[in-house]
């Protein structure tokens, strides 16, 4: 079947009037913008910078671990580095990156709306993020904390390092998370274009919606908990201090009540991206729309009741351990549903092996193994052996770096034409993707084995029998780092010199592709009316969206 030739106005053109240059240009217009697209871009830039910072910390850690004895740093520095690596990667990158970055840019476009529900609140959310990040940065520059990102008491309340600025920085960033979540929920409820019922929403929106629910409910608890630790560190009020009757395990309950749902704040947006990428690059509808949509809500809901699986060895009662273990099994099912549905989507599809799809392949591989090792950890007796060893480190890096980072990179490449109006070099994209996937495997598969051998986490020096696998892991990390640097370089070059992409270079049916690339500031001149479902690819005659009127192309 040959396609109909593109109509004249469809030759790849860089939309002259777009959100990047209208209504104004210049730093001030960006810093006072209410345009969700500009705010999304600012979030992407900021979170990417912190991704690089956290990655640098990781590289330093891996270099130190090349040797079983002290190598390029002392114990205190090492302890600070792994703490800051965790804090930066989780709170300054992973939690905000896809939701506040891509979510901000895409949500209104996908819903047929002109902006999010509260544009000024959106800008505030960005500034709150920056303020919190700066405060945490201040703490890092002045020595940083050495408690681990989990801040377990009583170590965190008695250590001499500068925990308080970092705690307060994360506390402030939490508000950014809450405000964004609030904005997205209201946008989804109130700003859908006419004709878009809930079951016609793109799957990206479903997952971001579920993420937002977790954000608003879980983050306040973390905020309170970190505040309590900061107060105890500064004033010694003794809520978690056994000498004054406090219970250090209570801190763990409070902390994990947020931090377990937090991992779903990180993973659900990744799944959101993948649903879009699979449909676009298999050029096909999603296999089970309702299953994938509802499983996002399922993860959000059940995920709140599983926090105790981080505490199987902390002395909680076997009854607790049992309840948390069983519930953890259920939360894993929702991920399984998604994995099967995504794979089944490929059946009878028309698969285009472009860079975003390469990242989907990596994502699938890492989510299956990352997820299954999560289930394995939930079978309580196995966790007793693996807890606080490199097995857990490998597990969460598989899901967070493997799955979430793959999705982030997939999103970057898939929506690069829409956000910037340009294309990136596809050849380099595939090369970098392969390097990243291979490098990742070489970094973290040895860590599963190290965990099996019994190497504990957060070890600065280690027994000689762990040496070889540590060297292998560091070697992999260098390849991974190189791949990421390559991505950074060609994306920056493409930003400036990439050829125009045109409205819809991927011929995707996502609603956001109906606008010009880059989109105009008001997204749509007239509110669109939605008549077709999302991810619908079986109507070959339709190249243009089925809603009226046709979007105007500036030529």
């Amino acid at each position: 079947m040959s396609p109909s030739p593109p109509p004249p106005s469809e030759s790849p053109a860089f939309a002259p009037r777009n959100y990047l240059n209208s209504p104004e240009t210049g730093l001030r217009s960006w810093l006072t913008t209410r345009d969700h697209k500009r705010i999304g871009v600012m979030f992407l830039v900021a979170t990417s910078v912190f991704f690089a910072v956290g990655g640098l910390f990781a590289l330093l850690i891996r270099i130190e671990l090349l040797s079983p004895s002290p190598f390029i740093m002392d114990a205190m520095t090492y302890n600070r580095l792994f703490t800051l690596h965790g804090v930066v990667m989780i709170f300054l990158f992973m939690i905000p990156a896809i939701p506040s970055g891509f979510g901000n840019f895409l949500l209104p476009l996908m819903l047929g709306a002109k902006d999010v529900a509260f544009p000024r609140l959106n800008l505030l959310s960005f500034y709150v993020y920056v303020a919190g990040a700066l405060l945490a940065l201040y703490g890092m520059v002045h020595g940083g904390a050495d408690t681990g990102w989990t801040f377990y008491t009583p170590y965190s309340t008695t250590t001499v390092t500068r925990v308080v600025p970092i705690l307060l920085g994360v506390f402030i960033i939490g508000f950014s998370s809450i405000l964004t979540g609030l904005n997205f929920i209201v946008t989804t409820h109130a700003l859908r274009a006419p004709g878009m019922g809930w079951m016609k929403m793109p799957l990206f929106v479903w997952s971001i919606y579920a993420t937002s629910i977790i954000q608003i409910l879980a983050t306040p608890v973390l905020g309170m908990t970190l505040l309590l630790v900061a107060i105890e560190h500064a004033f010694g009020w003794g809520l978690f201090n056994p000498a004054l009757g406090g219970d250090p395990v209570l801190f763990q309950h409070f902390f994990w009540f947020y931090s377990h749902p937090a991992v779903y704040i990180m993973v659900l947006p990744a799944m959101a991206v993948i649903s879009e990428v699979v449909c676009a690059f298999a050029h096909k509808n999603i296999f089970g729309y309702k299953a994938v949509a509802y499983s996002s809500l399922g993860i959000a809901f059940v995920g709140f009741f599983t926090w105790g699986h981080h505490m199987f060895t902390s002395g909680q009662s076997p009854v607790d351990a049992g309840i948390f273990g069983v519930l953890s099994m259920f939360v894993g099912i929702f991920t399984a549903i998604k994995v099967f549905n995504w794979t089944a989507t490929l059946y009878k599809g028309s698969i285009w092996f472009k860079t975003p799809f390469a990242y989907f392949i990596g994502f699938l591989f890492f989510l299956v193994f990352g997820g299954m090792t999560g289930i394995a950890l939930a079978t309580v007796s196995l966790d007793v052996d693996w807890h606080d060893t490199y097995f857990v480190v490998a597990h969460f890096h598989f899901v967070m770096v493997g799955a979430v980072m793959m999705a982030f990179l997939a999103a970057l490449h898939y929506w690069f034409p829409k956000i910037t109006g340009r294309t990136y070099p596809e050849g380099w994209g595939l090369v970098a993707a392969v390097m990243i996937i291979l490098g990742f495997n070489f970094t973290f598969i040895p860590q599963f084995l190290l965990g099996n051998m019994g190497m504990p986490r957060r070890y600065f020096s280690y027994p000689a029998r762990f040496h070889a696998l540590n060297v292998a892991s560091t070697a992999g990390a260098s390849v991974l780092a190189m791949g990421l640097v390559i991505v950074l370089v060609y994306l920056l070059i493409a930003l400036r010199f990439g050829p125009a992409a045109g409205r819809n270079p991927w011929r995707s049916r996502g609603f956001e592709w109906d606008t010009p690339s880059p989109p105009p500031p008001e997204n749509f001149e007239v509110t669109p009316v939605i008549t077709r479902g999302p991810h619908v690819y079986d109507d070959e005659a339709v190249e243009y969206p089925a809603h009226a009127p046709e979007p105007k192309h500036a030529t």
């Binding site: 709306a113 609030l182 003794g238």
Partner: protein, 209 residues
């Protein structure tokens, strides 16, 4: 005549109001969860240190808590009355009643200040500063750590609520709202009711049981 409050990305004032209200309810949910963490901590430690906590609870001045409860409930009533007037388009009366509510809130804070002074004098202080001779059972320092955290956080929210009431009250007095659109007044009232509601939980938990 004021320009229409309709924002450019909403189709109608109706939808905007709906979105505004939904956002407020969600925000209130997050506030509730903030306090839930503290309440959970209180419950756990009360269970572990029953004697100490109940003795400490009896040692603080319940009458102040009771009067404060009456004050807050009354202030919620005046806020609701103000909202009622806003719905009828009588913005000046809204401003007046919100002003009365703010005065009640000030009285609440004043009584709390008196109470805190007594605590300092008696040595009923958190953590290592605790030197309250009358209660020697274990858990005294913890009780007061939680007491100051919970009532302190609540007082902070009272101050925020007062600010919101003042701002919205002044705007209402100046005729900014109409029967067709007075969602900010609704939201301000909702926030104040939450502040009141939280206190309704704090009072029995800390003073009565």
């Amino acid at each position: 005549m004021q320009p229409s409050p309709l924002a450019h990305h909403f189709e109608s004032l109706d939808k905007q109001a709906h979105a505004s209200r939904l956002a407020m309810w969600i925000f209130l949910a997050t506030e509730v969860l903030l306090f839930t963490a503290l309440f959970a901590g209180y419950s756990v430690y009360r269970f572990l240190f029953y004697d100490g906590f109940s003795q400490c609870s009896r040692s603080i001045e319940t009458w102040i808590g009771f009067v404060n409860t009456l004050i807050l409930v009354t202030s919620s009533f005046t806020v609701a009355t103000g909202l009622n007037f806003a719905a009828k388009g009588q913005g000046r009366k809204t401003g007046l009643f919100f002003g009365i509510s703010v005065l009640f809130a000030l009285a609440f804070l004043g009584l709390k200040a008196v109470e805190y002074t007594h605590h300092f004098q008696e040595g009923q202080l958190p953590g290592p500063y605790y030197h309250f001779a009358a209660v020697k059972a274990a858990g005294g320092p913890l009780f007061f750590s939680l007491y100051f955290l919970i009532t302190g956080l609540h007082a902070f929210h009272v101050i925020v609520g007062m600010t919101v009431l003042i701002v919205i009250g002044v705007l209402a007095y100046r005729g900014r709202f109409s029967p067709a659109y007075h969602v900010p007044v609704e939201n301000a009232a909702l926030y104040w009711h939450l502040v009141d509601l939280i206190w309704i939980f704090v009072f029995p938990l800390i003073y009565l049981i």
